[in-house]
Amino acid sequence: MLGLGDWWIFSAIVGCLAVTAFGVVYGICNWNKGGENPPREKR
């Protein structure tokens, strides 16, 4: 447990890293989604 004395603290640190990872992955996956300009029509 990375030298920590309690599962709760370990969970808090893992939780921080996990939710940050979620934010990063979500941001990357949706980088270009939700823009104001309509998508160009395919020729």
């Binding site: 990375l2 030298g3 920590l4 004395g5 309690d6 709760w8 603290i9 808090a12 640190i13 939780g15 921080c16 890293l17 939710v19 940050t20 979620f22 934010g23 990063v24 979500y26 941001g27 990357i28 949706n30 980088w31 270009n32 989604k33 939700g34 823009g35 104001e36």
Partner: protein, 550 residues
């Protein structure tokens, strides 16, 4: 907490000339960014919402920098030094609720509904959503009455820091600090504020990450540092009897269940501050500054990394400083090895600055100094702006019935908001102002959160229900603070004067349960119950509000 009084120790071992030059360069940069904001501010919308076209990086950094203040870095970092890593749950809540839930759940709809209704401030958003000018005035009044308490404590922290670093009188430091911030907030508007925030946020990330990396390097790596801290646990009972009695059981374990510190950590910090961040007007208004949801998607990435790097680093370093002080000569006093809180003379606010001064190279002191100034300036400018817009845009227009928005009125409002904060900073003792911060977070969350969620998601919510919910939230929060929650009740002394006792209910755990815990559910229940007994809102208005959310 009063971190504002704690930084001077760190400043003493620095070369004043070097630091002074750095601060001058820093102020010039702020001036340049404020000037850019001023050049690009042409209308009320530019001034209040940065023209609704802010870059996602600027938006996210500004949101994070306004969110994390000096109190969070030095004050809460010091609390972690005293009580341990349980505060990492606050970091988790800040990222999970303050960023992910806020941006995904609140940001998109706030932006969309705000644009549909042409709302430019948080009070106006609530007022227009529920078609009530009175509601707008009520929300603006609550902001105007409580935010200056919070902004003044941040103002004091910056002024105290300048006082020690530049070796000038506190009143002069206050004048210099206020003048620098006032110029770019009054003239640059939200554009100036957000540009400067982005710079501050970048400095904060760099400064706090440097601190964490150097701390682990100094203590022999991640696992070794944690293990050494875990091994100190038996000393909690032996050396810190007061903290042990509050529930402290070591720095890498949670406090004892149902103890005083457990309730403070869970109810005041994790729930109060963690969830309360969702209803902060100065943060909510930033959702309306971006052009589309694409900017919000990108901002989630930047925002979550920002909170982890700044708040996460501060709390880890605070707790780990115990290992440094206990195992090196720096913590020895009268031949006895000391824990961090002992080395800091019992003042948790001194732990982080002392650790930096004693453990790290002097170069880090300069980086840390700029980091602290950045944290203070960014939070303060956002609070000044939201207070000023509440006065200039919401209160004045709401009461006078003026239809046109005036750039001048907004600027006068911001100037007045700054004046009120300065008066607070000069007359109130720091302890009172710090309690005012806690009061604002609790009151804002209990009163605004149900109304804000209903505005975004519940079409059945009515104007009268929102009025009732906000009134119940404010009243119950204030009642809890004055008569039930020991920390504030004892400080204010009203309960003592009226009933000859510190708090009305002394049975554990009630004196330690944050009023937010019961004020929020009561506010929510009021909103739901009253909505079902009052006429439905007009379908036409709802269609206008939610037209982009189908």
């Amino acid at each position: 907490m009063s971190p504002e009084l704690s930084l001077f120790g760190a400043a003493c071992s620095m070369n004043t000339a070097v630091l002074f030059s750095l601060i001058v360069l820093y102020v010039l940069l702020i001036g340049y960014l404020g000037w850019r904001g001023w050049k690009r501010t042409r209308s009320g919308q530019d001034y209040l919402l940065a023209g609704r076209s802010v870059h996602p990086f600027v938006m996210a950094m500004s949101y994070g920098a306004a969110f994390i203040s000096t109190s969070a870095l030095v004050g809460f970092g010091g609390i972690a030094g005293e009580f341990g890593m349980g505060l990492m749950w606050l970091v988790f809540m800040n990222i999970a609720f303050g960023i992910v839930v806020a941006f995904l759940g609140f940001g998109r709809r706030t932006r969309s509904i705000g644009q549909n209704l042409n709302a430019q401030t948080f009070p106006e958003f609530i007022g227009k959503r529920f078609r009530s000018n009175g509601l707008k005035i009520l929300v603006a009044l609550i902001i105007f009455l409580f935010i200056p308490l919070y902004s003044s404590v941040v103002l004091i922290s910056g002024a105290r820091f300048l006082q020690e670093v530049m070796m000038i009188r506190y009143s002069w430091a206050l004048v210099i600090f206020v003048t620098v911030v006032a110029i770019y907030v009054i003239f640059g508007g939200l554009k100036g504020v957000m540009y400067v925030d982005a710079l501050m946020g970048s400095i904060m990330i760099f400064g706090m990450l440097t601190l964490l990396v150097l701390c682990y390097a100094k203590l022999g790596g991640i696992v070794n540092a944690h293990q050494a801290l875990t091994d100190l646990a038996p000393l909690a009972a032996e050396r810190l009897p007061h903290e042990f009695a509050l529930g402290h059981r070591g720095w890498t374990v949670m406090p004892e269940f149902n103890s005083v510190w457990w309730w403070t950590l869970v109810s005041s910090l994790m729930l109060g501050v963690g969830i309360g961040a969702l209803a902060q007007p100065q943060l909510a208004v930033r959702f309306m500054t971006v052009k589309s949801t694409r900017e919000l998607n990108r901002a989630i990435l930047v925002g979550s990394v920002f909170i982890l790097c700044t708040a996460g680093s501060a709390y880890m370093v605070g707790a780990l400083s115990n290992v440094f002080f206990f195992h090196t000569d720096k913590g020895i006093a009268s031949g006895v090895r000391q824990l961090a809180i002992e080395a800091a003379g019992g003042n948790p606010d001194l732990i982080i600055p002392m650790f930096i001064r004693e453990a790290l190279p002097s170069l880090v002191l300069y980086v840390f100094s700029l980091t602290m100034l950045s944290a203070a300036i960014s939070t303060m400018s956002s609070l000044f702006h939201v207070t000023g817009s509440s006065i200039g845009h919401d209160l004045c227009r709401g009461i006078s019935g003026m239809r046109r928005d005036s750039l001048l009125a907004n600027r006068i409002g911001v100037a007045f908001g700054i004046f009120v904060s300065v008066v607070f900073a000069m007359v109130l003792p720091p302890g009172f102002v710090a309690r005012g911060t806690a009061i604002f977070f609790g009151v804002a969350a209990a009163s605004f959160l149900p109304a804000y969620v209903a505005a975004l998601y519940w079409k059945r919510a009515t104007r009268i229900a929102v009025w009732s919910s906000i009134t119940v939230g404010v009243s119950v929060s204030l009642f809890g603070l004055v008569f039930l929650h020991r920390k504030e009740a004892a400080g204010l002394g009203i309960c003592q004067a009226l009933f000859d006792r510190t708090e009305l209910i002394s049975i554990h755990p009630w004196p330690f349960v944050d009023p937010f815990v019961y004020a929020l559910p009561l506010s929510i229940l009021t909103l739901i119950a009253v909505s079902f007994f009052t006429p439905k809102p007009s379908e036409q208005h709802l269609r206008r509000c939610f037209q982009r959310n189908k």
